[in-house]
Symmetry: C4
Subunit: 472 residues, 4 copies
């Protein structure tokens, strides 16, 4: 069905891209029929969705303005407005910077493989695709459940709004409000009848679109990081066979197990008995890389292809050289991909953190007013958990990137480099130097996406909460 241009990341992320196209993102590429007519229709659809999103958002904002007198209403409305600001920011951020997204998605279109490592590469690719689809599915389910929970909570409890009696400021009277998910102003009477039905349909549509807009963008970010991590694991796993290949080449050095046999044969030193065993054991300790299997067919063919002793060495040398080149070029490609991701998402992450911090501080204030388990408490906790889950999602994957990239040095160190050729050792050295700094995604150079960031956000909220509780 989609056999036209599905390669690279676009193919891997196809379900996500399809969902994004359906929810109205300005993702106009990646269609079979790219004729002017169809493109216009798609542009029209995306524009309609964006107008819809903006208009309903403005209605929320008008309601915020109209209820600005009471501090509780103001806080609640501000939280709602900030909460959906995420969605709008991300939607329009994508629309404006979609060229960058296209470019990043195209990064892996022409990534070549190496005959020796293609099996490992395709295995990790499959793992990455699996993880990404699982993530998309989980986030999708989470979003739908959140949407329904939000809708459901509207029908629990009374639907009233506490306002000050304009005649007597010390008393509060209760005003009936429509059973809607969001407090919004409408030019029509939304309390009941047709007006209510229209408002309800608009809100449920808008709610699901807004939630999916925010989540889909975050999911794409996480998927990219998953892909990066799998590539890094691939690189780390092929390090060991690469070094073994280099060691087997090194004809100047005889095979280590033979070395001590030679020693013992000529000298009869006490090293042959007992102690000699110790040294041999050092040489032969096999490490567990059971999960790596060389394309032994190809390699064996190359090795056995030519009979000449020199010819063999030369071909193997070429193999090692090409393997090193493959490693370095792939690693550089990953570095470039990470820098592209940072470039594409940097400002969006900064905006996300800014709005989240303000919203979470306000939520901490709201949370101090919880005294029993009711609709109010559920709403506040729902907001809180959802917002934190959003932040946690990208912090978690950002942290995984930092860990995977910083453990490349350990992987390089843990292969048997001391047996490698001079060239291989220089390779190990330069790679170690480069990997002293972990790769990371920064939010427009102001913070680094990691679990540390999440912990500090959490810590700040706990602090605010405790200060506010004390003030109350």
């Amino acid at each position: 069905m989609y056999k036209f241009r599905l390669h690279g990341l676009v193919a891997d992320l196809w379900p996500l891209i399809r969902i994004m196209q359906m929810t109205g993102f300005f993702l106009l590429d990646y269609h079979e029929d790219m004729s002017f007519g169809w493109t216009s229709i798609r542009t029209g659809y995306a524009s309609t969705v964006s107008c819809f999103m903006v208009i309903q958002y403005l209605l929320l904002f008008i309601n915020l303005m109209k209820q600005a007198e009471d501090v509780n209403d103001l806080t609640a409305n501000t939280i709602t407005v900030l909460f959906f600001l995420h969605s709008l920011i991300k939607f329009f951020y994508f629309a404006i910077r979609r060229a960058k997204f296209y470019r990043t998605l195209a990064t892996w279109n022409n990534a070549n493989s190496h005959p020796l490592f293609s099996e490992n590469q395709s295995r990790h690719h499959a793992t990455a695709v699996g993880s990404m689809r699982r993530l998309v599915m989980n986030v999708g389910i989470g979003t739908i459940v959140s949407g329904f929970a939000w809708t459901a909570i509207t029908f629990i409890g009374d639907s009233v709004h506490e306002i000050r009696d304009p005649d007597n400021f010390n008393e509060t009277i209760f005003e009936e409000v429509p059973r809607l998910m969001l407090r919004s102003w409408y030019p029509w009477n939304a309390l009941s009848g047709g007006g209510y039905v229209v408002s309800f349909i608009i809100q449920i549509l808008w709610l699901f679109l807004a939630l999916s807009h925010a989540m889909m963008m975050d999911t794409m970010f996480c998927c990219w990081l998953i892909y990066t991590c799998e590539q890094l694991i691939h690189l780390k796993e092929i390090m060991k066979p690469l070094m073994e290949l280099s060691a087997s080449l090194d004809t100047v050095v005889p095979h280590s197990a033979d070395l001590f046999r030679a020693v013992s044969a000529t000298t009869n030193a006490p090293i042959t008995s007992g102690d000699g065993e110790g040294i041999r054991a050092i040489y032969s300790n096999q490490h567990d890389f059971s999960n790596f299997r060389l394309n032994t067919g190809t390699l064996a063919n190359v090795n056995s292809g030519s009979v000449g002793p020199n010819g063999l060495t030369k071909k193997q040398e070429l193999l090692v050289r090409s393997a090193i080149k493959y490693w370095v070029e792939r690693h550089k490609h990953v570095v470039r991909f990470v820098s592209n991701i940072g470039d594409t998402y940097g400002s969006a992450l900064l905006l996300h953190m800014l709005t989240s911090t303000v919203a979470l501080t306000l939520l901490a204030y709201q949370a101090t007013k919880i005294d029993t388990v009711n609709v109010y408490a559920c709403t506040v906790l729902g907001y809180l958990v959802y917002s934190l889950a959003q932040v946690f999602l990208f912090c978690f994957f950002g942290n995984r990137l930092i860990e995977e990239s910083s453990s490349v040095m350990e992987a390089a160190y843990s292969c048997q480099w001391y047996d490698g050729s001079e060239e291989a050792k220089t390779f190990i050295q330069i790679v170690c130097q480069q990997c002293q700094k972990a790769m990371s995604i920064s939010g427009a150079k102001f913070f680094t996406v990691s679990l540390d960031l999440f912990a500090s956000v959490l810590g700040a909220i706990v602090t605010y909460f405790m200060v506010l509780v004390q003030l109350n």
Copy 2:
């Protein structure tokens, strides 16, 4: 007696493992008779202990619930509950993740030695075993003393409980409570008679078990770190003779002391008198590594075994090469061991720090109410010192690991690498690069176990204390 499978860390930690088995840990391995019957009996014992621990803990919790009205009682009970939460967490953590513990204990089962360095290795092994046994003994004594002190303090002062008069809220009346170590609820009357005796026996048993459960787990962690540190010291000490071996091999370069004699013989330059002495002195400055003795017998044998000038070099080259391999493989093994420890203990450390922080904050609150030296003050200070000692224990050893591992680079630098062969220099370079990052144990990636952590915990408590004193 235990001649069946006692090698590696299990043998070194045998007293600790025996204590853990006796106090009811689910440590079902490491017995002589592993038949189904005996294993069932042991499982039954461990299960009984765990049920006992849980039931008494729940009784404490029920008491907490029943006394929740008064803020002082609530705080005191919460501290007690949190304090013993450690023990339960650690007990069940071990039960659930015992496979990881077995794996980590098995790490050193097949660690080979090198004929040249076996003497140094066995010396450091002995030091490590000594330190570990001393630690187990000290911690054991400390735990028993704490338990008896706790029991003793119960019999000092009046055994009353201050409660509000239900008729007149402004007055307090005193209720007599049983002289027990822990405020717990029992289905029977524990105030006196048989009920009291039963409660007392239950509590004293539970108290000692709970204290030892927590301490034994921490001690095992510390023992592993001690073992790691000794291995690192071993590696640092053999670095110097390794380099000297390499330097003595380097036949291209004549021995440095001879070099200047050659210069002076041919030129009669002023360098021969006085100044030449200076240079020779630079070459011959001997560093103090008196505490290292080569297995000179073995080495001399190898050296003198073959007479041919080329054969000698080749064998020595093999020796150097094997020594380097030994060093790197041993270092990698230590790195893997540390990563195993982190894997095994990570979440337990995180839980420990979380409960400790909450408990210590509550203790700071309790401490603000101390105004004179009495039973209350002693209890609070006892809790405080005990909790801090627990944290200090693993922070201290965690810090030692950081120090020992970060000084590997200095050790590599401080041997005479400039005389070594090209291969040895590359070895030094890669090792230096790898050791720029210190090894450390992280608490589930949220913090690093070090004295810094202890200082920050201490600082936080002092801050809380001062804020609370000011509020009072």
Copy 3:
């Protein structure tokens, strides 16, 4: 016109230097006629300006002293005094340390170029000059606009000063004050008539001079950083052709594309079909450095000039060697330039940050009294924005320096070093090691000029503001 000594940074910064000379800085060098007479006249001009600056500043200070009773007046006057303290500090800092400025400006006078990289060098030089002139223009316009806005706001609203009634301390009376930009004391009556005109002219002159003094010094700092960054980009861009040159030389290794052809010709292994393509593709993947063009004319000439196979190699070797030397020497020159900048500006930056922090804290206090949009609010916000913009300016460029310098390692890694000669690889290694530490400008060793600094300044102000709002 200025054909006498205009080379290096002086020529590039000529507009800025001319403005500085005109606004009275003690910049006595860089004139066509350096005879004693002209120099004396210039010294006289600068001295007059400095006297003028100091006298008016002292009058401001006298006014501060006379209005010290009321806390609001005191705060407002202190802010003004601190604000202009910047200008005076910078003016006299330049006067005293002008030798260091001359030396830093002379750094690039004799910077040589390399025939292969002169095209790239001159392109980046042109970019730097363009950026610097644009910056000077923008800052100049900003300064002039600020000056006029300041003057304009004086004529809006009433020109009164609220003081306490000396008879009745609970009432305030309004005193008319002259419509001047700055509250200053004068020995004459400045309220109206000639006194007013004189005062106004003095103040407008002083205001513009003070603003330009502060801004011109900051601009010179930023221009130097711009120049440094462009030089670093130049170095990063020539890294890739340098490595390619080295790789093309490496006659021991046949060209990689040929390697696999050789393999396939002799063995007919399955590697030739399909899989072989993969390897060849790895070799031939071209990276985008479209913005770099070698002086191919020169290079081609050198390459084709001699026919002998050995002679060619030797000359190319010389080229590579000279290119590496060029790179390293240029990099060292940049390092020295940065250290000169730090040396020249260090203490000025420390003083700037100290006065700014105090002034911004006071402004946060003033900002808590804003309740509506009026002249007062505009003034406070104006001060705030202007002060923050000043700090942001040098933080932004300081951060750019850190980024550019820390990405030199990535640039070194991302060229095809695995094909380079042994010498080139060593070059890459040493450069990587050196570039692990980013270059940065420190404020007298107490802080580093970066966006982090700006964020922490901003965070401190927000904290102060919130604490003060809460206290009010």
Copy 4:
């Protein structure tokens, strides 16, 4: 006079050591006559001094206990007691750990020099000795001035002590106190007459001894750091000639200036005109190391001594090799010296910082009560400035150590390593790796002695001061 054993650091620090011996430190070594009799006399003297110090300190403490009711008196007395706790800690710290001090002082006894670098070495040694003596003199003068100022301030103002009237707690009465430097309890009446004279003499003696004890210990620490820094500068300066020596040896590479002449001679490429100049200019750019002069006599002799082309190279090779060894061994010696200093002073620094922090916090409290310029204000400010000066002294030199040691890498990079031999490049690489971490002195692993520490201490005091002012 002292011709018996005055070499190494003892000779360099002779004035300081003499002062320490005279002020009663347990510095029993370094005397001409080390017979048992003289040693006993010296031990007796030091013991007497220590008894005197302790007894007067206890009297201060008794006074503190007796005046513990009033919070102001308590604070003032506590500050005094903490202030002199420094002196006692340092005095007895030295007494107990004098073996470590002897060992550290003996570090440089056998430091060899290298004929090529002896001139530079002796120059830097002389600079270090000069700086150290200047420091000892300045600190000595400062201590004496402080002592006299302290004594002088006693005779200014009334000598009364404000106490609560025991009959009427709302009134205060004034009790006359003796005009003594320190509030101390004596078994005799110290208000006037002989008792007063005795007390005064005791106090003035004790005051000067206590001040010098504290200062002399700090001065020795600073002197050691000065010596270390000069050694590091020496190492940095000889790096450049060392590399030039290596480059001049490298016979494989013809002299660079000749290289391009060869090119131009064979090809007549445009490179010869103009552009060729550029390259040659790159080669010949001379860097300013005017302050380094080789022992050219020695070197020339060695060079011209043998005529044979091969012999010359060999001897030069030996020279380079010995120079590298000299560099590395000297650097290691400095590293060992720094680690010795840290070992010797670590706990003393920790104790100093602990007591200082508490004392400075109390001083911040006292400072909030200053409202006018009087004796009280002077006393508080005097304490404050003196305490901060003490901390600043060792922070300043600790920071210098960090800077000098971290700039070794820059020094290694800034010499012409690209011309050096392969061995020299490896040397540069390993040195660079080692010097990525700066050397520093840590206070028992809890903090690092640097200007950052000073800034954080200052920041903490400012914070305390502001909080306390707000509370008042």
